[in-house]
Symmetry: D2
Subunit: 311 residues, 4 copies
């Protein structure tokens, strides 16, 4: 198990692995204005694709259970505190006749919806990414490496549509994406790119929740190392955990090979999970502009997001 | 009061005022691939500025009350369900040594944080924007004109930095922005632009919450009509209600002049409120790329967002 | 289907079926001071038994899923906003050294934990119990027949321990309790009694959740009518819906025979569901003092409760 | 500051201060069946008085802010997930015509509503009451001294209606109840009694929230010690913190004199706060039966309750 101290020696050509300003942004520090400006060159059509699953929170119906999610997680709840039906039933308008609907959302992002992980989400031992003390992640939030430290992501995407490359609808639950798989996708990966990985696994949900829960395909450790060595800024995938999952919703990798540790903890590479990439797959584009704008949740371990691709 | 039926005649050159595909997107239909592609031309530096207030939800501290908000609204709550302190106190790691932090967020966007309004948020009479029946906005969400119908916003921004133009730190609580104010800002407004309006009012919060609550500056009705006549796609402001507010947190305008009705209900123009525009003001740019990616909350009246400016 | 108007003619000897003060308390009006005083006579030992399931809300563990509940319901969430682990990790004490733990609870009572139904929980047509208009049950709560109208329950209990009578661990999923079953339990039912019905079904949960969800035993319609004819004040059961449930978690009875309509809607008899009655069963007492003190949730459709038996 | 170790020597005649079964119930162990049986003798009229403030959670109205609460605390939220207005607007009934209302509650008990404190709520140093390690109070709940360990309270009450004794509507914000005050109330305090303390301070709320927040009257440390020396089982008061509060909502007592430490931590005496005692005051009874049945929240630091007096 590589200790966090070892990360003081940067793996690539960038220098985010130093203490000081922005050291909690990790690999997102690669997204300098120059890189952002260059990333706009990946846009050719101007078409915008949202890459998020719907958040269905209507708690008196089966709606929340109809969206892909990990078993046993608290699903989103969405409540209206005043709505049109209330006015239909006689609620008085505001002032001279104004009517308004208002609502609230309860969301636990990990495992329930499209989200971005903060660097504080996972670690081993007593230190977070870059040596930040793990015990600063407390009940009132993470004062180190929270999602508020990430900031927006505006980057060129390299798309690895593995099932399309293989000619299958989705990868099988036990499959792990190899370096050869990634290489076969033909992407010209540059430093600061977001690696967008498609497994097609959300399609398993439409077959049955039980199939979705039977395991999940994901990146192999060697493929993860290959990506990190390319100095990417972020990994975004349509599976739930970047890595493959067994039927118990756990990863079988050792700590050395664990992909959350590899990306979040050793390299400061943010992750986004549970994306919806089906329309993106149909577009058959290898590079495009990728944008994710996490909520500024102080000390959050994650944020629900609607990532977008601008083709 | 102009009834929603009258909106069948489009106010501008666009044609979103018809029933059918996308009619719940309102003016966001202006954001065609061609317009999106053209909007990228507004980027010159590649600098990315987030425009959101922090979401501080640590409920055992005064933190949530330290962020600008309307009085009497339920403030965000952010909870950790497992954190680094738990491991410090002896909680067993997952598997061979993996440690993880997990959390949940409760948020009521209107009046408490940076958010985007859905078209179903306000109306008069029995119909929403474009004649959609208001009683389809029910306890389990809006099946018409919810935030899930909006989709992502990628547009050129026209920035109206009124206090900078006037040489003041922020507008006064009772001030209303006029057409002359808007014109003085020198923007070349094009169809599909997002009008970003700065009042500077969040700075009043740092003086005192009581000052912030004493009223709010905002757009006048005539300025609102001027913007709508320019076929903008969206209005985004750093005040809480686009319009000015009185000390009771209400708008003094008649229904005909009410800015929420004008934008959301008559023109299908989405609104974003409670942005943080101070660094943007310092950048002194009139046009840039504006992006907002609301969460895909089915039937939501709003979504918390982190809008960004790409300069 | 008996319309609510017909309830103006009281079924029994009491007179709660009139408009005016207390008409939203329903059969709880039977609990006059004289009846309460008499109910104390049922106490012989002074032993107090709590009759509630645990509320396990720790959302990062499987704990919430280990307590009996109906499928697809949002399970309780319990969060600490500051705790002992935070102090162990270095959080500063309050003032001179005081340390405190604080928390929050999210609960949807129906189908997830021991609770008491308000009279507004179920109805047919447009009127609640006793003709109260159903459209006064709105997003901001029920202004008619909410749990706040119920008040505390202090009553003599008549215990119907049907599985004990039959010599079985629990009734089978498809069984319906008959009048003969009730009569065999030997209770001397008096007006104002709480009928406590044991099915033993929570024990099915310890066999497996799937067994618990395969259906549920419950009262038959005729047994329900028999109880109502005895002018009871309330029914409390250890199953989830008083009535039997099919594998789809629905009741197979017609509207005329539906037990929620029979009790809540026609007779104003409050219900308590999902009690834990195993220690009570061991005590083998037919009468005792029963107490339930719902939270004073204005406009609530239910309240989580810890009912108690004083033997 | 008396360390928790010193509590191994019981202050009174009881023996709850030993490790083993029930040691997390503290002074509630005094409520043996014999004591419970004897407590019923305090009932003479059979009248039942609820002693709870209303929980008003309708978040789109000012309702939640109209109930006494400490400043800056997250107020209750109550949401309907389906209601009568939805049916009025066209929602389809369940099955053949059944209609149902369903809801959810979010509650942070301390400082917002009538509640009972668990023994884990406050401590000094590293140990809870009776030496239980404080770091077992973690994000997923307290595995020591949680409210689930308390169980129901059925006890004789000794009522100290200090403002009635003094002939005032309510005590003044800066007043502290003395031993002489308590003695003047004429109660014959017995081991296992619940001491119910009235300050009348909730009436200050009806004058103005600002008055309520200007400070609070409460027990003096000497009065607290006097009560503890009488081997009471619990203290219940209508103020927010048992002790007096300054305008900053803090207690001015030293750690030695802090009443939460005195009761919860040194003596294992549970507390209930924010009761509504006005009708009880009118009843002018010194002894009665007191019942509180906390929710069985595993690891909770408190539970909202509706305590009752049976006169």
């Amino acid at each position: 198990m590589t200790p966090p101290e070892a990360r003081q020696t940067p793996q690539g050509s960038h220098n985010w692995g130093r203490w000081g300003e922005g050291d909690e942004k990790g690999a997102l520090n690669l997204l300098t204005p120059e890189v952002v400006l260059a990333s706009l060159g990946a846009v050719t059509e101007g078409r915008v694709l949202p890459l998020a699953l719907p958040i269905k929170g209507s708690t008196s119906s089966p709606a929340p259970t109809t969206v892909p999610h990990l078993r046993g997680r608290p699903l989103p709840q969405h409540f209206m505190s005043v709505d049109g039906a209330d006015y239909a039933a006689g609620t008085r308008p505001v002032g001279a006749g104004l009517r308004m609907a208002d609502d609230a959302l309860i969301v636990t992002p990990h495992g329930t919806t499209t989200h971005m992980d903060a660097l504080c989400h996972m670690w081993a031992g007593d230190a977070l990414y870059n040596g930040h003390p793990a015990d600063r992640v407390r009940s009132y939030g993470a004062t180190r490496c929270g999602i508020d430290k990430a900031g927006p992501v505006v980057a060129r995407a390299s798309f690895f549509d593995v099932p399309a490359r293989r000619g299958v609808r989705h990868l099988a639950a036990e499959e792990r994406i190899t370096v050869a798989d990634l290489e076969s996708c033909g992407a010209d990966v540059r430093p600061g790119d977001v690696a967008v990985i498609r497994t097609g696994w959300p399609l398993a949900w439409s077959d049955s929740p039980e199939k979705y829960w039977s395991g999940q395909p994901g990146l192999s450790a060697e493929a993860g190392r290959w990506l990190a060595a390319h100095d990417i800024a972020m990994v975004a995938s349509d599976n739930s955990a970047i890595s493959a999952l067994n039927p118990h919703q756990g990863a079988d990798e050792s700590l050395d090979d664990d992909l959350h540790l590899l990306f979040l903890w050793r390299h400061g590479i943010h992750l986004a999970e549970m994306l919806w990439l089906e329309e993106l797959s149909e577009a058959a584009r290898t590079h495009f502009l990728f944008i994710a704008t996490p909520l500024n949740i102080q000390g959050g371990t994650a944020s629900p997001i609607t990532p977008i691709a601008i083709l």
